[in-house]
Amino acid sequence: MLKAAVYGKGGIGKSTVTANLAAAFARMGKKVIQIGCDPKADSTINLLHGEGVTPVMNFLREHDREPEKLEEIVKEGFGGVLCIETGGPTPGLGCAGRGIVTTFSLLEELELFEICKPDVVLYDVLGDVVCGGFAAPIRENYASHILIVTSGEKMALYAADNIYNAVKNFADRAYAEVFGLVLNRRNVEREEEKVREFAFSHALEIVADIPRSDEIIHWEDRNRTIVEAAEDSPVSREFFLLAEKLLAAEKKKGEDAK
């Protein structure tokens, strides 16, 4: 089972990348689960054509009990992708990181993986690794590959550096490793050069290069991922290539383990 977590600065396009990657895997015939780990709970909205799933935290708040069945917090989206959102606490109150930990332990109790038997699990994580809760998706038995989404903007690279260092701090633990950078272009000055410099200095690979595209925005306005709506677009192609790279890495990992 391939499990990957997508991190990056807020607003950099993590949900766009994750949802398109999920759609690409689904188009390749894979059974996919996407778990949005952001209080905004909008990670899977385009896979669900605008009709979002009830986030786990909302469920707890509304029902004052834990979900008893997966159907209460899982909804099937494009290509059969199973969509889950952790959601978050009442804004300004509670603890969002704890929300992620709680959601993960609930999903474990509900035997999500045993019942759904996914080929691919994608975690779309809020911004930075700010506390233990936001590191939960990269712990042992969760994601094993991390994608960092960045543009050439200074603050996006700054956040990427923070995430990289946080992961490095966990070197003694059996946590996920950074698989590479996803360059989500904003068409800033010397963008490719800056990201390449960053990648080189951190010994990372740029594993996908997503062009700035009005097409993505056009389809997101219509609650669709570009991979669903325009499969043959050059932009979609980038997501398929990234999906293939991840599958190849997972296959190699399995062979090395043998």
Binding site: D64, C95, V101, G132, R139, D172, R173, A174, Y175
Partner: protein, 385 residues
């Protein structure tokens, strides 16, 4: 307001369950919690504390450790202490704060294992669940690490007693009475988990022909030993005379047929309209007492089965009140209430009450009146009340 308790106390926590189950096994149990919580544990949850040494520690977690994520401090402290004391293993468990912030005890345990080369097992606790859950997981983790594969089944009839801790059986001689009874019935007792047996005896658990789960915290271990060694299990405590005999027979049959049996659930549920006695205690114990009343007094009784006391075993018909008000309603309708004396405060005065002290609920408060009911005549409560 749901789940509110105005009068009642709470049961021992999952962390106390871990410490209790592993107390006699020569390991080091570290509860990741604030300093001061030691006294709660030693005063209320562990009657052996002043008689028998054991390496149970609180990590002395501070607010800053929590805010700053000072996991390394815990790793360092545990490694240093382990070097001084050479425990047989290290068990780690979390109290509410580390559980809330998602401290990764699995990863911390791995670091400690690499540094100390000792078996380390983190046990999933949050300091808020019931002791049964912690004790159950601790026993399972211990067996997974230490149960020997290279053992032959004994030729003679033999048994392990699973899930015996002072939290359910106090230190009043009940566990010893169960052991003696089984021996008199012709069983060799391979081990008693985890009271009164050496780590070596427990390591040979696979040699037993049958297992007896005497509490909810022995059930997961029973299933584990069944899967690993094919050892069948029976669930029940040999209370009274008739039921103890029945249970011994069921154990022998299980050893012969290889079939598992939840013996204590083989009891009748009284008619709803009857003002039957109700029993509130740990699930296997309460059900076994029901069976004993049926066998010895021809009296059918109800087991009150809140989820926390019957996490793994209950009868569908058993009422499962999850708050004090609902519990008080059930008590008010009962013919007699068998429960820990702390419950008396919510039992109406005109309902007869039989004291059934439960160490996990009232600690040492009523230990002196905690009578041994195993394999002996149960006093006729109708004459006492």
């Amino acid at each position: 307001m749901k789940h509110a308790s105005r009068i009642l106390s709470v049961y021992s926590s999952d962390t106390a369950g871990v410490a209790s189950m592993l107390y006699e096994l020569g390991g080091m149990t570290v509860i990741h919690d604030a300093s001061g919580c030691n006294s709660t544990y030693t005063t209320h949850d562990e009657p052996r504390w002043y008689q028998m040494d054991s390496m149970v520690y609180i990590s002395a977690l501070t607010e800053n450790d929590m805010i700053l994520g000072n996991d390394e401090k815990l790793v360092k402290d545990v490694c240093r202490t382990a070097k001084e004391l050479s425990p047989a293993f290290i068990a780690l468990c979390a109290s509410p704060m580390p559980a809330m912030t998602g401290t990764d005890l699995n990863a911390i345990g791995e670091e400690i294992r690499e540094k100390t080369l000792l078996p380390v097992f983190p046990i999933r606790t949050n300091g808020m669940d019931c002791y049964l859950k912690g004790a159950s997981e601790a026993l399972l983790a211990y067996l997974e690490h230490f149960c020997r594969e290279d053992v032959q089944k004994t030729r003679e009839l033999s048994v392990n007693i699973l899930g015996a801790t002072p939290l359910d059986f106090s230190v009043n001689g009940t566990v010893e009475a169960v052991r003696k009874f089984l021996m008199e019935e012709g069983f060799r007792v391979v081990s008693c988990m985890c009271k009164g047996s050496s780590p070596g005896e427990i390591a040979s658990a696979g040699a037993a022909q049958v297992n007896l789960a005497v509490s909810s915290c022995g059930l997961a271990a029973a299933e584990y030993l069944w899967k690993r060694f094919g050892t069948p299990f029976v669930a029940g405590v040999p209370l009274g005379i008739g039921y103890a005999k029945r249970l011994a027979g069921e154990l022998k049959k299980a050893a012969e047929t290889g079939e598992n049996l939840y013996s204590c659930l083989r009891r009748h549920v009284p008619d709803e309209r009857a003002k039957a006695p109700v029993i509130l205690h740990e699930g296997v114990f309460a059900s076994s007492l029901c069976c004993a009343l049926e066998e010895d007094f021809h009296t059918e009784a109800n087991v009150i089965a809140p989820k926390m006391l019957t996490p793994f075993l209950r009868k569908e018909e058993d009422p499962s009140p999850e708050c004090e008000d609902l519990l008080a309603e059930l008590f008010a309708k009962a013919g007699t209430v068998f429960a820990d004396p702390f419950y008396k405060a919510i039992v109406p005065e005109d309902v007869p009450f039989v004291s059934l002290p439960h160490e996990a609920f009232s600690g040492r408060c009523f230990r002196r009146e905690n009578k041994v009911l195993a394999a002996r005549k149960i006093p006729d409560w109708r004459k006492i009340c």
